[in-house]
Symmetry: C2
Subunit: 250 residues, 2 copies
């Protein structure tokens, strides 16, 4: 039996955002590996073993998946969103690079998914309709100094910005520092979008001018998008529409 | 009859990457509006009128869609990839902002799709697994000076970078200039990925060190991804795996 590892993205939560190719991989799998809440999104069936593990054990989980594939199992590693954006694809490949050399020639595939920033952007309009950058605000895996440097350069470039993992329980002060940097370098009226639990029944969205943003507006389930200086707000009944125009006038 | 406009992403080409919610919107539509090759991806059926138009008429197309929705039609505007990334969502909202004030209160929704950079990244591994930026290299709608400024700042921030529209027939020199900037500010070994016609039967992928990249490696169907200084290449039989680690050592 020839095993394989396929790392898939389940999208941000709405099951109607899961692509057919991801569904097909899940239908073929003998094993599903991932963080507890993501594995919980996979429907159990006969012949499928679910291996749910806690957060922050990404490398152990990856080694487990690769080892099972080597012994002939058909393994799907699940991420929420897209597996290539601050998720399991990089973790599995890190395990490949530093692991058993025979793992390199396993059948390893990555199937994209709807990442949270694009679902959040769609929910309010098109704030990422022009050049943008995507930053993981967690300083779990990188020094704060690098995050701050990137924030300052991204603001100087006038990118729209999408932030993943803005605020953890264990290090809530990071997002407060990020807001301080942004308030210093961006204009006060640039809109900032807080999209919580996007595409799920608990979805909530708040939009405020950057000057009015406070750290408590984000938690670990929140996607944060900051408009560029060109981002527009179209007021109307209900929630405004927000977009960044395609053109920049020179 | 209550009309609506829903702007959807058809993904990069593989029909198995089209989400079920996008399929459902197409199934409900009375009219589909979009650029000729994207409308050609929609299966004709009774009761559905297809309105295909040429490139560079995005605002006219948007007005057409909004006008039809106002008269009670159920209109899907199709983009390839994700509609919020250099595609139709920003164009429709621009038409809303500057158009008939009653358009603001139409039922306007955006449904995300698999954007080309994430499909291209998945095809080679996880080169966007850490902080990255996304730049439209076309100088059709913005001055070259802004593109160059953003390239330099993004390189200084050591972002991985994804480039849309790297090279047009009418202005092929833009990508040559972009490569010159990158070669000046990045390290020569940073990998650059050229993903052409990603996820379609014509898909081809080339990976070279930045120092060996030449302008003819890209055309308008090519997605270009440049790794950061941390991006790793895992050599193996066949195409290497490429990923950007989740951690940065301080």
């Amino acid at each position: 039996m020839t095993g394989w590892v396929t790392i898939v993205g389940l999208g941000p939560g709405n099951e109607d955002m899961v692509t057919p190719e991801v569904r097909a991989a899940l239908a073929e799998a003998t094993d599903v590996v991932g963080y507890i809440p993501y594995v919980a999104r996979v429907t159990p069936r006969k012949g499928l073993t679910l291996h749910a593990s806690d957060n922050r054990v990404e490398i152990d989980r990856s080694k487990h998946a690769l080892g099972m594939a080597q012994s002939g199992r058909k393994v799907v590693v699940v991420s929420s969103g897209d597996p290539g954006v601050f998720a399991m694809a990089a973790a599995v490949l890190e395990a490949v690079e530093h692991g058993d050399v025979t793992w390199r020639n396993l059948d390893i595939r990555v199937l994209p998914g709807i990442t949270a920033m694009l679902a959040c952007a769609a929910a309010v309009g098109a704030p990422l309709g022009h050049d943008f950058c995507t930053i993981n605000l967690s300083d779990n895996l990188k020094p704060w100094s690098l995050i701050e440097k990137r924030l300052r350069l991204a603001a100087e470039a006038d990118f729209a910005m999408a932030f993943y993992n803005p605020r953890s329980k264990s290090r809530p002060e990071g997002f407060a520092k990020a807001l301080d940097v942004l308030k210093e370098v961006c204009t006060p009226q640039q809109p900032i979008i807080f999209g919580r639990a996007i595409s799920t029944p608990e979805q909530s969205i708040k939009v405020v001018p950057l000057k009015d943003a406070t750290p408590d507006m984000a938690d670990m389930r929140t996607m944060v998008i900051v408009g560029s200086s060109a981002t527009r707000i179209i007021e109307r009944e209900g929630m405004p529409l927000i977009y960044t125009p395609r053109s920049v006038v020179s």
